[in-house]
Amino acid sequence: MKYPLLASLVATTALTAQMASADTLRLLTWGGYAPEEVIAKFEEETGHTVEVTTSNNEEMIAKLRATNGGGFDLAQPSQDRITSAQEEFGIYKPIDMSRVESDLFIPSMLSATAKNTTFDGEVYGLPHVWGTSGLVVNTAEAPEVTDYTDLCSDAVAGKVSYRLKRPTLIGFAYSMGLDPFAAYGDTEAYQGILDQVEEALTACKPNVKTYWDGGDEIKNLLRSGEVTAAMAWDTGGWQLNADNADITFVAPEAGALGWIDTFALPARGRADDAAYAWINFVMRPEIAAMITNTAGNFTAAVDGDGGVDAELKARYQASFDQAAIDNIKWYPPVPAGLEALEGETLDRINAAN
C-alpha cells in the first residue's frame, strides 16, 4: 500500500500513430506502480494508451462501486479486499488465466493470491506488488521500540503516531498475543479481540501525538524528529533511511503485516486486451525491477529483484532476516461485514477522552 493521498490524476497520451487494435487503458492503481518510463515503453510496444489514476484501497472500491465497475479497465486492490467487495457490489469480472503468461509469476504467490481472491469458483486477482506494514523507528531515539505495543510505553510518550485504521487494530492484536486472522470467520471471537485492542488503544491515546493520515505526513513527522516511532509501511521507513541512517523500518516481533496488491478487472472495463497486455508487460523481470525502484516494494515477478537498486535490497535485508520473513502475517480475505465491526471500534477509540 502506497500513499493514499486524495486521488490525483495523471494522464499520459501517446503521440505515436495508433494501430487498429489500439485501446486506451484506464488504470486505477497506487502511486509509483506505473512509472512514466514504463508507460512510455508499453505504449511504444503495443500502441495502447495508458491513463493512470492513483488511489488507495478504499477509494478504489468506492469509485468502482459508484459506477458499478465501470470507468476503469484495470484496478489494483489488495488481495484481501477483493472477495468481500465482489460479494457486496459485484464490481469485478473473473480473470481469464489463458490470457495471462503465468510463468512470469512466482508460482507460490500466484496460487496463494488465486486462492484468496476466489469467489464463487472464479479467480479475480493476480499478484503484483507486495510489501508489509510494521514499525518505522528512529533507532537512536527510541531503540526500545521493537513491537506494536512498545508504542504505548512511557519512553516514547507524545512522540508516537499511527493510523486509526484496521492494520493498527490487527497489529496490536498480534502484539498482544491474539490471533485476529484466525478469528476472521468467527464474529463473536473477533469482537472479543477488538474489545481488548480497543482498551489498549484507548489507554495508549495520551502517548499519541497525532493519528496520521497520509504517507507524506508521517514521513514529515519522523524526519523532523517530532515523532520517533510509528506504525507505517516498509517503503516509508526505507525512504527515510536514505536521508537519515537512524530511521528505518523494523519488522515487529509479533510479525509484520503482509499485503499483496493485485491486478483485478473491473466488471465493466472496456479494454481487456490492453489490460492483459499491461499485466504481461509489467511482470517481465526488467519492467518489474523498474517498478520496484520507483514504488520501493518488490513484485511477484520471477527474477523481478534482479535489476533492483542495490541500496534498496540492502535496506530490505536489514529489516527482514529469514525469521522475520517467515513471521510475516499475510492478510487473508476480509469477510464481508467485518469492516463494520472494526469501524465501530475505531469510532469508539477516536471518541474516547
Binding site: A62, V208, T210, E217, S224, E339, A340, D347, N350, A351
Partner: protein
C-alpha cells in the same frame, strides 16, 4: 396568439435553469435520500427504513461530532466576523485609491494557492519544530519546543484563515456603498464612534454581515481538509465522518443520512441566523 408565443419564450428561457436545478441539485439529492433510507441487512440486500437516522441519534459519537462541528463553525464564523469587520472597514472607508486596491489584493493572495497548500503552510508554522515554536525558543519565552498543532485552536486558526476573504469581500462591498456623509452626519449630530458604528455603520452593513456569515458558516461546516490536517486526536469533524462512512466503511447508507442531516443543520442555522438578524434570505442575497 401573441401571449402564447411569449409564454413559450418564457419557458424556453426558463428551461436551462430548471434543467440545472433538476439535474444538478434535485436529482442527486433525491438519489441521496433514497440511499439514506435503505438499511443493509445482508450482502446486496436492503430494505427501506429510517434505521440510519436512528443510528445517528442513538450513537453519541455521531451526534456529539455533529454538535461539535456546528458549534465550532459558529464560533469560527463569529471570529471571522470580528476579525474581518475592522479589515473591511479599513479597506472600504479609511484607505483610498491604490492602497485600497493593494490591500484588497493582499486579502486575495492566499487564495491563489490551493487550500491544501495553505493548510500545510499553517502546519509549518504551528508544528513543534515549526517557525513559531522556534521563534519562542529563540526569544527565550519558552524553554523547550511547543506543539501548537493538533488541537481545536489550530482548527480555528485554519478555518478563520481559510474563510476570511469570504467575509471581507461582501463587507467591503456593502461598506463601500455606505455614503461617507452618513458617518459624518452621525458624528455631526453628536454621536460617539461607538454610537455611529452601532446605529449607522452596522445596520447598513447588515446584508454584508449576514451573507458573509452564511458563506463562512457553510464553508466551515463543509470544510474537510483543515480539521483533518490541523486537528488533533479528538478533533472530529462531521464531514470527515461522512467521508469515512462513504469511503472506508463502504456504508453509503449511513453516509447519505449524515449528508442529509448536515444539509438540514446548515439550513436550520442559516434560518435561525436570518431570524435573529431580522432579515429575509432574498433581501440578504439581493442587496449585498
Amino acid at each position: 396568439m401573441a401571449s402564447d408565443t411569449s409564454k413559450l419564450g418564457f419557458y424556453l428561457l426558463l428551461a436551462p435553469i430548471l434543467l440545472w436545478l433538476a439535474l444538478l441539485i434535485l436529482l442527486p439529492h433525491v438519489g441521496l435520500f433514497l440511499v439514506s433510507i435503505s438499511e443493509k441487512i445482508g450482502p446486496r440486500e436492503y430494505e427501506t427504513g429510517f434505521g440510519n437516522y436512528s443510528a445517528f441519534f442513538t450513537e453519541p459519537l455521531y451526534w456529539r461530532t455533529f454538535a461539535r462541528t456546528a458549534i465550532m463553525s459558529i464560533l469560527a464564523t463569529a471570529l471571522t466576523l470580528l476579525l474581518g469587520f475592522p479589515i473591511a472597514y479599513y479597506i472600504a472607508k479609511i484607505t483610498r485609491g491604490r492602497t485600497k486596491t493593494t490591500l484588497f489584493l493582499m486579502c486575495m493572495i492566499p487564495f491563489w494557492v490551493s487550500e491544501l497548500v495553505r493548510t500545510f503552510g499553517w502546519m509549518i508554522l504551528l508544528r513543534e519544530t515549526g517557525v513559531f515554536s522556534q521563534f519562542l525558543q529563540w526569544a527565550g519565552l519558552v524553554s523547550g519546543p511547543v506543539e501548537m498543532l493538533y488541537n481545536d485552536a489550530a482548527i480555528m486558526v485554519g478555518l478563520v484563515y481559510t474563510s476570511i476573504l469570504f467575509m471581507v469581500v461582501p463587507l467591503v462591498t456593502t461598506l463601500d456603498s455606505l455614503d461617507d456623509s452618513l458617518i459624518e452626519a452621525g458624528y455631526d449630530l453628536g454621536g460617539t464612534t461607538t454610537a455611529v458604528m452601532r446605529e449607522i455603520v452596522i445596520p447598513h452593513a447588515m446584508p454584508g454581515i449576514v451573507s458573509g456569515c452564511i458563506v463562512v458558516f457553510m464553508l466551515s461546516l463543509g470544510n474537510y481538509l483543515t480539521p483533518i490536517l490541523l486537528g488533533g486526536k479528538d478533533s472530529l469533524w462531521f464531514t470527515g465522518m461522512i467521508y469515512t462512512q462513504f469511503i472506508t466503511r463502504f456504508n453509503w447508507e449511513l453516509g447519505s443520512a449524515f449528508g442529509f442531516l448536515l444539509l438540514a443543520l446548515s439550513s436550520l442555522v442559516v434560518f435561525l441566523g436570518l431570524k435573529l438578524s431580522g432579515r429575509s434570505l432574498s433581501e440578504t442575497m439581493g442587496r449585498s
